[in-house]
C-alpha cells in the first residue's frame, strides 16, 4: 500500500462523521512489525498488526475495541499510549500530535493518559509493596506531587481496597484485588484518558462484575474517557458507548453499542455476535459458524481480509479492499467496510 493511499483513507469517513469535542483521535494509525529470520537475521516478512486505523473518542465516552486474538487490538492500544512507535499515522491528544512532542512533553501528556493492563499478576512489581507501586507514579511525574501515605490510602479506599493494604505485597492479593491496584495506579494522577487492555479477562465472573462496576463508577465520578479493549462482546457492550470491531488489523464496523448489537452489518460482526453463548437455554438464535480460523497477520489475504471466511464472499472481495464507509441508515452514524453494501 502506498503512503498517499494510506493518507487518503486516514482522512476518510471516520473523521468527518464525528463531531468535534474529541479528546483523543487517531488517524491512519499503522503498525508493522518486522519478522526476522534466515542466517543473517534479515527481514523476511512483515506482521501487519494494525493497518490504517482511524477513530476519535469524545470526552467522557467509552470506545470499545473488540476482536479476536491477533486482530491488533492490543497493539493499537499500545501505539495510542505511545508504548510502540507507530509505523505511520498520528495520535492526537487534545489536538496535539503525540509523535511530535519531545520526551519531556510526552511525559506530561502521559499524565493525562494512563493504561490498565490485562494480567494483574504480571503488571505489578512483585518486590514492591502496594504503597511503593502507587507512589512511583508520583515520583516519576515530579517531586511536587509526591504522594503522602494518606493520599495513597484514600486512593486505595476509592478502588475498594483497605488503607491498611499499603504495606502489603502484590502476591498477598487475589486477581480481582490486584486489578484494583492496577486501576488505582492508573487513576492516581487524575488522567483524562484510560486505555484498558482486557482489564477483566483474567477474572472470574463474580469478580469481573465487581471490577466493571468500579470502572463505570470511576468514569462517572472522574469524567474519565476509556478506550476499552476486549475480546468479550458482552463485556464491551456493557461498558461502551460506541464500538469498533477489528479483524486482522482493520476496523470492519464502527457504530454505537446499541446499533451494533441491534443491527450488525458486517458479516464478521454478525458471526461474532451469533457465536456468543447466551446464558439462557430458551434463547433460540441462528448461529453462524465461520469456516476456518483467522489467517496469519504476516500474510493477510488480498482484498477484504475477511473474504477467506466470509459466508457472503463475492468476486470483488478477493481483489479490492473495501473502505470503511458510512451506511445510509437512520440514526447514529454506522460505518462498515464491506462490498455488500456499497
Amino acid at each position: 500500500m502506498t503512503d498517499s493511499r494510506k493518507h487518503d483513507q486516514a482522512n476518510g469517513a471516520v473523521e468527518t462523521s464525528l463531531d468535534s469535542g474529541n479528546i483523543l483521535s487517531v488517524s491512519g494509525l499503522t503498525k508493522h512489525f518486522p519478522v526476522r529470520g534466515g542466517i543473517f537475521l534479515g527481514q523476511t516478512g512483515v506482521v501487519h498488526a494494525v493497518d490504517d486505523v482511524s477513530f476519535s473518542i469524545k470526552k467522557g465516552e467509552t470506545l470499545g475495541l473488540v476482536g479476536e486474538s491477533g486482530c491488533g487490538k492490543t497493539t493499537l492500544g499500545r501505539c495510542v499510549m505511545g508504548l510502540y512507535p507507530p509505523t505511520a499515522g498520528k495520535v492526537f491528544l487534545h489536538g496535539k500530535n503525540m509523535a511530535l512532542e519531545n520526551s519531556r512533553q510526552m511525559k506530561s501528556m502521559r499524565l493525562q493518559m494512563q493504561m490498565i493492563f490485562q494480567d494483574p499478576f504480571e503488571s505489578l512489581n512483585a518486590r514492591h509493596t502496594v504503597g511503593e507501586i502507587l507512589r512511583e507514579k508520583y515520583i516519576i511525574h515530579g517531586k511536587k506531587r509526591v504522594g503522602t501515605d494518606q493520599e495513597i490510602k484514600t486512593l486505595l479506599e476509592r478502588v475498594g481496597l483497605s488503607g491498611d493494604d499499603i504495606h502489603r505485597f502484590p502476591h498477598e492479593f487475589s486477581g480481582g484485588q490486584r486489578q484494583r491496584i492496577g486501576i488505582a495506579r492508573a487513576i492516581s494522577l487524575n488522567p483524562r484518558v484510560v486505555i484498558c487492555d482486557e482489564p477483566v479477562s483474567a477474572l472470574d465472573v463474580s469478580v469481573q462484575s465487581q471490577i466493571l462496576n468500579l470502572m463505570v463508577t470511576l468514569q462517572r465520578e472522574m469524567g474519565l474517557t476509556y478506550l476499552f479493549i476486549s475480546h468479550d462482546l458482552a463485556v464491551v457492550k456493557h461498558v461502551s458507548d460506541r464500538i469498533a470491531v477489528m479483524y486482522l488489523g482493520k476496523i470492519v464496523e464502527f457504530t454505537t453499542a446499541r446499533a451494533l448489537y441491534k443491527h450488525p452489518y458486517h458479516p464478521y460482526t454478525r458471526a461474532l455476535l451469533s457465536a456468543i453463548p447466551l446464558p439462557d437455554p430458551l434463547a433460540r438464535k441462528q448461529r453462524i459458524i465461520l469456516k476456518g480460523e483467522v489467517p496469519s497477520p504476516e500474510t493477510p489475504p488480498p482484498g477484504c481480509r475477511f473474504h477467506t471466511r466470509c459466508p457472503h464472499v463475492m468476486d470483488i472481495c478477493s481483489t479490492k479492499e473495501p473502505k470503511l464507509k458510512p451506511l445510509k441508515v437512520q440514526g447514529s452514524p454506522h460505518l462498515t467496510a464491506c462490498h455488500l453494501y456499497f
Binding site: 465472573v205 469481573q208 462484575s209 466493571l212 451469533s274 457465536a275 453463548p277 446464558p279 430458551l282
Partner: protein, 343 residues
Amino acid sequence: MVNNRVCCSPETGAVFPLLQVDGLVTAFDTEKGCVNAVDGASFSMAPGTTLGIVGESGCGKSVTALSIMGLLPRPSGRIVSGHIVFDGKDLPTLSPKEMQAIRGRRMSMIFQEPMTALNPVQRIGSQINEIYAIHFPGMTKKQRTRGAVTMLSQVGIAEPSMVMNNYPHQLSGGMRQRVMIAMALASSPDILIADEPTTALDVTVQAQILELIKELQGKMGMSVMLITHDLGVIAENCDDAVVMYGGRVVERAGVKDLFKNPFHPYTKGLISSIPGLAEKPKSLLPTIKGRVPSLDKMPLGCRFSNRCPHVMDICHTTPPPETLVGVSRGHFASCYLPGESRD
C-alpha cells in the same frame, strides 16, 4: 442419534445412570496442611446426555474430573472417601491395571490447553496411533493409520494425512483442540470429559468446537461432561447442570430449570452478574460481594456463608446437606433458605 434423553437423578432413579458420583471427597496435601478440594460432591449422568459442571476457579470442578479419571497428581492428591460408580464398578477401588482398561477406552478426557496436553516432540499421527496400540492391541499398523485418518477427518480437519505428519506446534489452537478431540474419541468412549475445552480459544472457534462436540455426540451416542466457568456455554450445550462452590455442589438441576428458577443464592448471583446483551449500557451489575476464600480458610458451615446476602445463624455452623431443598423434580439446592421464600 442421542438415545435416552432422560434427566435422571439418584433420588427418582428413573434411568440407571451411566456414571454416579456419591459423596466424593478429594484432598490435597499443601504447605498449609491437608485441604479438601472437593468436599462431598454427588451427582449422576444419564447415558447420551450432556452434564455441565460450572463454577469459578478453585471450586473443585477440574479436581472432580481428575478424580473420576483417576488422574490426580500423586502423591499430593488422593480420594479420601466417596464412590464413583461407572458401569457397576466403583472406580476408586480398582487396581491401576483395571483403571487403565477404562481410562482412555471407555472414558476420555480433553483439556483446556491442547498445547500442553499433546506431546510436543511426537507427530500427531503417532500420538493417535498410540491410543489404538494401547487399547486395541489386535489392530495392524495399517488399520491404525486408517483409523487415525478417519478420526481426523471426522473432527473436521481438511487434510488429515498431512496433519498426521505435523507436530503440535505447527497447528493453530483450534486445530490442536480438534486433534485432542480426535484422540479422545478414537476409542469411541462412553463418556467424554471436556475440561474447559474452549476457554483458550476465540469465540468464533469456540462455536466451531462446541458444535463439533455436539455433532459427534449425536453420531456416537456418548455422554459428555462439560466443565466450564461460562454459564452461556452451559445454557447452550447441556441437558443438566451442577453448580459447584468451594468444593461442594450447591445446586443441580436440568439446565432450563436452573436458569429459569435458580434457587441457591450463589447460582442466582452468578447468573445475574454476567453482563448481558440486553440491559442498559454502563448500568451497575449485580455482584456477589467479596471473593472465594482459599481452601484452607473456608467457612465452617455453608461455604458460601461469608458472601451470602441471605445468611442465617445456622449457615455459619453446620454445612447444609447437599439435597436439602428439592425445588422441583431433579432440582436440588444445598441451602437453608426455606423452599418457598424465593425473591
